[in-house]
Amino acid sequence: MSSSNWTTDFLSQLSTDITVIQIDTASTTLWQIESHAWQRFAEQAVQQNLRWAAGWAEQVDSQFFINTCFEKHGEYVLLRTIVDDSSPELPSQATVYPAANRSERHTQDLFGIKFVGHPDNRRWTRHQAWIENSYPLRKDFPVQGRPVGITPPDINYPFIKAHGAGVYEIPVGPVHAGIIEPGHFRFQAVGELILNLEERLGYTHKGIEKIAEGREPESLAKLAGRVSGDTAVGHCWAACMAMEQAAGVLIPPRAALIRGILAERERIANHMGDIGAICNDVAFVFAQMQFTRLRELWLRTNATVFGHRLLMDQIVPGGVACDLSNESCALIMKDIVELRTELAEVILALDLNSSLEDRLYTAGFLSEEIAAAFGTLGYVGRASGQDKDVRRDAPYAPYDQVTVKVALETQGDIASRFWIRYKEIRTALYLIEKFIDQLVAGDIRSDWQIPLAGSEGLGIVEGWRGEIISHIRFDADNKIARFYPRDPSQLNWPALEKLVLNNIVPDFPVCNKSLNGSYSGNDL
């Protein structure tokens, strides 16, 4: 989709009581408004079908910068307002955009910025690790905090209650039965039917934003690769892109192509794992065995070629850490041919299986309207008609040199999320072939330039789960002042609360797997 210059039209139609100051930056369109107009801007944005993509704050001296990132037709606008730290409050955008809900609660917990009129301003990321009215991301909060003894459980969190004959509650987690991350789910059910699900996340909050401060680019890239272990490439790329933008560093074309290969390999590995796991959750072990086998072969090639099964630390500021030899390229190409053959056989067997069909079709339905309202991303969004993909809509190198075919489904059930993944594997295989074909000779890393103090960058990439937005601001001496990574899970988790409704409790695992949000990427 070509950029349609909606920004000019939008500004001309904006009501006159909102003053927008347009700030010239090299890469991002930055609009600054008065804080009292924060909500009214959102009201007009939603009318013009702007998508709310990310929100975060930062402290700069005695002021708070509050940011929202909007997108339409692949064009991103960064909206900013500044409030004084003496009375940090502004009207909430969550009343207009449900997608902003948890993000504002996170900002409220970590900065003490009050979003007036927020529809649900219970704490979110804060449990009991730090006390109320203290805010870890403020500059005067020590990184070590002030922990006293053992952190108690957050037993007084005000969960939504349900009453009535035959209504009962099922609390699940934070320690789950499988080998998965910790989080709490509170179900209200009648018989087997789920009436309501409330997620309580934040258990894996480990202070990523705080401990990023003061790091140098190299070390920040390592941390970014561990925001969510399954998205090592995606987050690392987004963070490096943001840092490179801030520093004005251009990466060599060869490095961009290798980044593309890494990202697509990560996508394929995760999609294969998910397809197997979805089938396993409806007790179809054949698929689980086949897909874990194919995934293992894929990861072994990662280890041979890049030296790391999950591709951690392969993307570095200015380029990539590992070059591709001709033999490596040949091995990757051979793997692709083999995987295609294997997939054709296995997928056909799954497609023709009536017991899978029985469990996956119509289960876990997410409507297009809800998906759009929550700004649902990646394969979850695309299975519910959200035709978004950064690789096509706002292409960055190397995706600007290829045609990315974006798979789209509209049924919005688990089967759709299953098939979208399969289609994305096929596209990714094709893209890797293209990138290897186009692999030009040359450097794999540019020299780093120390950015000016205060310079900032916004990295936006399509990770395997969907759009990742990473914001970086530098301090003096090459040090990071602020790092905020917005994992797609943050916008996808709320969709799970909706898509499980009217499903039976025993289908929750497969519903959850079909969405597969990252707890770590959400909690930060």
């Binding site: 020590p142 990184v143 480990k206 041979t304 770590s520």
Partner: protein, 177 residues
């Protein structure tokens, strides 16, 4: 249905005792089998044939979970050595703990530990669980697992590969006589 049987038959047994692209892992093609036999011997002797593992993610990035999962894929098939994963700490001999322990998970981990019947062992998996790793100790993180509960063995790595995990489990058997 025939397709499924055909695929199963043509795939054959990939569980590793022979070379199947094991060049990727440390060269030695028989290593997995050797490791497994040693582990099995210990398990037979000390646990009457099997040990039950409860994996607890105390705040990891989920990288370690992916590799622990891989232990159950048909290449490693760790169950053939008598090691299996269970759904409750009440069924477990061993807690496999990943991640720096986030402060929000501190009590949950302590309770999981208390819920595990004696005798029990704790294995800290991954660099974060071993020493705090990339996250260390902060307002939100207790760092290493040993800062919260007693640890019997450590398997470093970011994340440890399935082979490293198996080696580490063997190490645990060696420690606990």
């Amino acid at each position: 249905m025939l397709r499924i049987f055909k695929k199963i038959l043509t795939t054959g047994v990939v569980t590793e005792r022979f070379s199947l692209r094991s060049h990727a892992e440390h060269g030695n093609e028989d290593e997995l089998e050797q490791l497994g036999i040693q582990i099995k011997r210990h398990i037979d002797k000390q646990f009457s044939g099997s040990i039950a593992i409860r994996a607890v993610d105390a705040g990891s990035c989920n990288g370690c979970e992916l590799e622990i999962h891989a232990l159950n894929n048909p290449f490693y098939d760790i169950e053939r050595f008598g090691i299996h994963f269970v759904a409750s700490p009440r069924h477990a001999d061993v807690l496999l703990v990943t991640g720096p322990v986030s402060r929000h998970m501190q009590t949950a981990l302590l309770r999981t530990y208390e819920a595990t019947p004696n005798p029990k062992w704790v294995v800290a998996v991954g660099d974060c669980a071993a020493c705090g790793g990339e996250f260390g100790v902060s307002y939100a993180s207790c760092g290493a697992v040993s800062n919260v509960i007693p640890v019997d063995a450590v398997i470093p790595g970011c994340p440890p590969t399935p082979l490293m995990l198996m080696r580490g489990l063997l190490g645990l058997m060696g420690v606990k006589k």
